[in-house]
């Protein structure tokens, strides 16, 4: 895992040279997204859906800062225990934070990003989990209409819980409207 992340970081650094060649300018957009959320190595929750809002703001060359909000309903988990099937309520997962996207986050191209946020996991019968979360992912933007771009993202979201974490793989499709320019 660490090797993969190291390679991902290296790839991000190497791609910045390409990104620097892109046009420079201020940009502000607003976007909505939705998709699927898959828990990783978690025996008491199942896959679910997520949706949210993003506000990409490109204020300096190469980097777009993107505040986000997400809301997710993870699936109930069915497990047969002692010969009887039991169901555990899936988490309601909400969170907000900010991503830092390398490249022109509002438009065409590949956009690696990292992020940090505050996420909350709630379910019946358990105390809520409210912890720091980290995101790392890769998006692909496609603009077919002026001011509107579509973004596909694959993301790993990690909510730290003490010495361990709850991890989720997110796949989303979003649309962003460019307010500026």
């Amino acid at each position: 895992m660490r090797r993969v992340l190291t390679l991902a970081a290296l790839a991000i650094v190497l791609t910045t040279g390409v990104v620097q060649a892109a046009p420079i300018g201020v940009g502000v957009g607003i976007g909505a997204y939705g998709g699927v959320r898959i828990p990783i190595l978690q025996d008491n929750v199942d896959r679910g859906s997520l949706y949210g809002l993003r506000v990409p703001v490109k204020v300096i060359p190469m980097i777009t800062v993107e505040p986000y909000y997400l809301s997710s309903k993870l699936g109930d988990r069915d497990e047969t225990i002692g010969g009887v099937e039991y169901t555990r309520d899936g988490f309601d997962h909400t969170g907000y934070g900010v991503n830092a996207i390398l490249g022109m986050g509002l438009g065409f191209g590949l956009h690696p990003y990292v992020g940090i946020g505050s996420h909350k996991l709630e379910r019946d019968g358990s105390p809520e989990i409210k912890e720091t979360a980290y995101n790392v992912g890769l998006g692909f933007g496609l603009s077919v209409i002026p001011k509107i771009s579509f973004v596909v993202r694959g993301e790993m979201n990690l909510v730290v819980t003490g010495d361990t974490s709850r991890k989720f793989a997110n796949g989303t499709l979003g649309v962003t409207y460019s307010l500026l320019p």
């Binding site: 190291t6 025996d43 497990e79 225990i81 002692g82 009887v84 003490g162 709850r166």
Partner: protein, 179 residues
């Protein structure tokens, strides 16, 4: 490239984060409990649990960090004439206590109360059961799970006289482990 000065530390944080945060998981382990008949506050029979009997626990116990979810599952049948509030206590070792007084004095309340009306049966679900765990009981279970893995469970009524059975009893634990 100056703009990378703040982003690279973030990347480094992700890369250099403790390995167990990145590679941890939540794993279900469960233990069948024998059918229990609790007929009074005396003559109790505890269920001695050795977590080492579970292959998943045995595999991950060295990397166990926390317990993230619990449930005592099964069907509770009140065969007495009055309502009963069922509680489960835990002692840290393999014990053979046989009175409610001794269990309350020497153990820690782990779970409950589950109200079972006279003459009726209640099959507890996972969500409902998870809500009945006590924080003190969780602490004991976590210590035992990180220790020798041995403890004893006792089911008893919260007060008065009672008579109940537990069928298809299971203790289910979700353990947080590093990989």
């Amino acid at each position: 490239m100056k703009n990378l000065r703040w982003i690279l530390p973030s990347l480094a944080l992700m890369v250099l984060a403790p390995a167990c945060i990145l590679t941890s998981g939540q794993i279900l382990i469960d233990f069948d409990l024998p059918s229990v008949t609790a007929a009074s506050s005396t003559g109790l029979i505890g269920e001695q649990i050795d977590l080492n009997d579970n292959d998943d626990y045995e595999e991950h116990k060295d990397k166990l960090k926390d317990l993230s979810d619990f449930a005592v599952l099964g069907t509770f049948r009140n065969t007495g004439l009055t309502d009963v509030d069922v509680e489960v206590y835990v002692t840290r070792d393999l014990t053979t206590l046989n009175t409610a007084t001794a269990v309350r004095a020497g153990g820690t309340k782990l779970w409950g109360p589950l109200h079972v009306p006279a003459g009726e049966s209640v099959t507890i679900d996972w969500d409902g059961s998870a809500a009945l765990f006590t924080s003190a009981g969780k602490a004991v279970l976590l210590q035992e799970a990180k220790g020798d893995g041995n403890f004893t469970l006792y089911a008893l009524g919260a007060a008065g006289t009672y008579q109940f059975d537990i069928d298809n009893g299971v203790l289910a634990l979700i353990i947080d482990v590093g990989m």
